[in-house]
Amino acid sequence: MPARLMQGDEACAEGALAGGCRFFAGYPITPATEIAEILARRLPQVGGKFIQMEDEIASMAAVIGASIGGAKAMTATSGPGFSLMQENIGYAAMAEIPCVIVDVQRLGPSTGRPTSPSQGDVMQARWGTHGDHPIIALSPSSVRETLDLTVQAFNFSERYRTPVILLMDEVVGHMRERVELPRAETIKRVERPVTTVPPEWYKPYEDSVSDVPPLVPFGEGYRYHVTGLHHDERGCPTDHLEKIQAWSDRVFRKIDSSLSDIILYEEDGIADANVLVIAYGATARSAWHAVKLARERGGKIGFLKLKTIWPFAEEVVEHAAARLHHVVVPEMNRGQLVLEVERVVARNKVHRVNRTDGEMVHPGDILAAIEERIL
């Protein structure tokens, strides 16, 4: 594919297609509407299906239904819709149904400011649905990264049989950049693992071979049950406490044992740094700008850009910050992911830079926070 001027939302839609998405259900909402509009046009071209549902609850439900039917499925929304999707996201986590949920974050709470960016849904992405469950959330900071991480979101969802959340923000979603598109043959796609056992032996939650049991789609001769109730290895409701505990242990283990695959990040100049800046999403752009300015002025500044937000990159952050006295964490919220940074780095080392008026965190503000530590 050649280079193209492309919008973040468009990159998300194209990334979805490249990742194998063949079903989309959604409901219009700024700043995510473009993703639905593009897929309404593009999906049928490749034999996929698009449906505009009556609300986001239904959209999330239809995505799960399509996924159990065997299609790689996605929805895209923003804060108000993301809130409505939470119960069914929990269902996907409980029943271990692969799916991708895109949240192009806008300023909240409530209707907030639809056209303004925010990173206010970081904690909601982690804990928005009730009950303990693992989740994967990725956050892109450029148009090209949006495309790549959308493919990655599908791959993770299929590999780990889990809902994956792509946390975009209005800046990345609406921004246009010139992107070199990857060649189709270079894109790595993960397909749903197939079972080797005959239907009469198949158990959709049987974990003796792997913590991620193969999920056979409905309609292929393997008849089984799926429920949001706690269930046994056949998917049938259970009251056995040891089975309930085993489920919980396994679904966390399947993610926790694969962190080296799941945790995506980029780092720069950390080895000899005095100050470390940790950022993600659109704010990583401001942060990188500030880091470069500070370096021009002689500062030794390390930069860590997190692409995987959940599970939190504990070890990466711990390692990067181990030697340092100052860690600056800018966010377009009142301090959400910084809570995780503070958990793994001594709290008095961590300095927040926040903004919640719907404007991006300015590089100047991050620079000021950096310089305050080195002067």
Binding site: E54, A58, G65, R223, C236, P237
Partner: protein, 280 residues
């Protein structure tokens, strides 16, 4: 007696013979009758079990799918039709049955119900209408008759009920019928017609919940409530000759609509053709 034995053999071929039994329903509940009628309808149509999916929401009715040997999914409260919409779109060849309680289908799921009907997507929606929330203990539902006592209307229900079948007709369903758990042959017949229908098909099955609403209103045993379904119901044909006053409080049974409307997933195949034609 012989007929009964053959029937239980039919049921036996479709039930999951494992730890699922005994079922969770109260002895005497009508939900099992609906399950048995669905099984006989599917058997009569000679459908391949692999090609049948049964989805449900949450409630006593929602527990039905786990007992049958189809592709089964117990979803979230009210959302079964939306889950089923996604499944049907990617597996249009499957027969997708959706079983719901009245609260599931018409309160929390009311929006999905009317939109599935409006789209005319090829699902079979089976609403077990016991006029209350059975599972949570007899609270008011969207089909609770005015004046009835419920766990959340201790002084009598002051709202009016939804007529489910009529609502489905207005919302655009291709096939709509109503029967009761007393009229099992008729019920089986309507279910068979509904499952055969290409578009969105609704069967409203009048049932009862003797342990909650029945007890609160002193309606008696399941047998007495069955008798009421028999005595207080009449056919659509007979209802046509009665005045509104005479029909008051009666359950009207019959096929309310059976019309040919374009089915959604088939229309979508046309969308795919158009999109691919425009592209080349």
């Amino acid at each position: 007696m012989r007929a009964q034995r053959t029937e239980s053999r039919v049921h036996g071929r479709y039930l999951r013979h494992s730890k699922e039994f005994p079922n969770i329903w109260c002895a005497g509940c009508g939900i099992g009758i609906v399950l048995a009628a669905i099984i006989r309808a599917v058997d009569g149509l000679q459908l391949d079990k692999n090609e049948v999916a049964m989805l449900s929401g949450i409630g006593c009715t929602g527990r039905m799918p786990v007992y049958v040997d189809f592709n089964t999914m117990h979803t979230t409260h009210g959302r079964a039709l939306a889950f089923a919409t996604g499944l049907k779109m990617v597996r249009p060849e499957m027969k997708v049955l959706v079983v719901m309680g009245d609260g599931d289908a018409l309160a929390i799921g009311g929006n999905h119900f009317i939109h599935a009907a409006r789209r005319n997507i090829g699902l079979t929606a089976i609403v077990v209408n016991n006029a209350t929330y059975g599972m949570t203990g007899g609270q008011s539902s969207p089909t609770t008759p005015t004046g009835v006592r419920t766990a959340t209307a201790p002084y009598g229900h002051i709202e009016q009920p939804f007529p489910v079948a009529e609502l489905a007709v207005t919302a655009g369903a291709a096939f709509v019928a109503r029967s009761t758990v007393f009229h099992v042959r008729e019920l089986e017949q309507y279910l068979s017609q509904a499952i055969s229908k290409e578009g969105f098909a609704v069967v409203e099955v009048m049932s009862y919940c003797h342990t909650t609403l029945g007890r609160l209103n002193r309606w008696g045993t399941p047998a007495e409530m069955m008798r009421r379904l028999r005595d207080d119901s009449l056919t659509l044909k007979r209802a046509e000759s009665l005045s509104e006053a005479e029909k008051q409080g009666k359950i009207v049974r019959g096929v309310f609509v059976d019309r040919d409307l374009p089915e959604y997933t088939q229309l979508y195949e046309r969308v795919i053709e158009r999109a691919q034609a425009e592209r080349v």
